[in-house]
Assembly symmetry: C2
Homo-oligomer: 212 residues x 2
């Protein structure tokens, strides 16, 4: 064990409060407002999100992924359909997203069910990726054991050399998380943080606040 | 939907590679090495982690918490035992942690079972917290509906005014996650990231690499 408790960081909780009466009635619009604010505050990295999945035994796992598109339909990300996350999502489509934007002392939690996006969309997005990302996706069987790194790297190098278009692998594509729950968390001084909850009720969003 | 895909950030993947033969044989020591490096690289906020839990139906949820201590025994954090995360952990003790350290292009994923820490430890840690954090914990029933903010704020103000010691609430305390799986992720150029996996095998740690 560490000898004492880990050092306490000083957080600047200077953003105004978020309440159920000053948030947008539509959680996707509220997300969009915060997303734009985050994008203005620094680098274009506000689309990094933690994705939590669970296997059929209920064991959770979590990793970072990149949000690629969002709107009323849902929140879209792409992956190898053979990866651990995709395997878990095939068996248990419930998932949770977490955006953590420390510059603004904010979190957004989104929960729902995922569906695969159309093959056309996956191919269209794949075609826009940089060539080395396409090569990585084509060569890697994500989350499988890496038995011989030198063979793997040779495959990557060989494919990078050519200039043939790289087709979207059959085993690669997108998921869309269709939300039924949002929580917006605004850090506030003295641990009295704001938490605004949106729950889907037959297609309408019900807003309330939670204790911090 | 957003009109086009969200902007792509430029990442600086300049850290050297992590391999199964240059990582520490003990994943807790490897974590400690990276944790110290992260602490040296910026503010003391490397102890922020995403905690994923799942309910008895296998629905995952995820939020940020602060790591307070770690070692061979496990990874310790504190919370309201009545909160959603604690309720889920009481029913399903499997949990997953994610540390995301973008300055060093690193992720650490840790999975295992949680156990409550001793009442003595919870009380001892609570006694070290700033008074306003103690007050927040004593007044809030975390994750319950906030029915009347003005009553809540009045309770907080009243308790803050006094100078009586604030005892650790019965419903507040720590969890220790006892890991059986670690993954260390080091971002590398061209999407060829390094992933080193440690699996517990009857108390011994087996190391291997995963495809990116």
């Amino acid at each position: 064990m560490t000898d004492s408790y880990l050092p306490r960081a000083e957080y600047d909780f200077s953003q105004g409060p978020l309440r159920s009466d000053n948030s947008d009635a539509d959680p996707v619009r509220q997300f969009s407002l915060w997303y734009e604010k985050e994008a203005q505050s620094g680098e274009h990295d506000g689309n990094r999100m933690a994705l939590a999945t669970a296997d059929t035994e209920g064991c959770p796992s979590v990793r970072m992924v990149l949000l690629k598109q969002f709107g009323a339909t849902g929140f879209i990300f792409f992956t190898d359909y053979g990866s651990r996350k995709a395997t878990e999502l095939e068996q248990n489509p419930r998932a949770a997203l977490l955006f953590h934007w420390p510059r603004l002392q904010r979190q957004v939690r989104i929960e729902g069910r995922v569906e695969k996006v159309s093959r056309e969309m996956s191919e269209e997005y794949f075609s826009q990726r940089p060539r080395n990302s396409q090569v990585g996706a084509a060569v890697s069987q994500q989350s499988s054991p890496l038995c011989d790194r030198s063979i793997f790297e040779a495959q990557v190098s060989k494919m990078l050399e050519g200039d043939d278009p790289i087709p979207c692998p059959e085993s690669w594509g997108g998921f869309c998380l269709v939300p039924d729950r949002f929580e917006f968390w605004q850090g506030q001084p003295g641990r009295i943080h704001n938490r605004v909850l949106y729950l889907s009720d037959s297609g309408a969003w019900q807003r309330s606040e939670l204790q911090p």
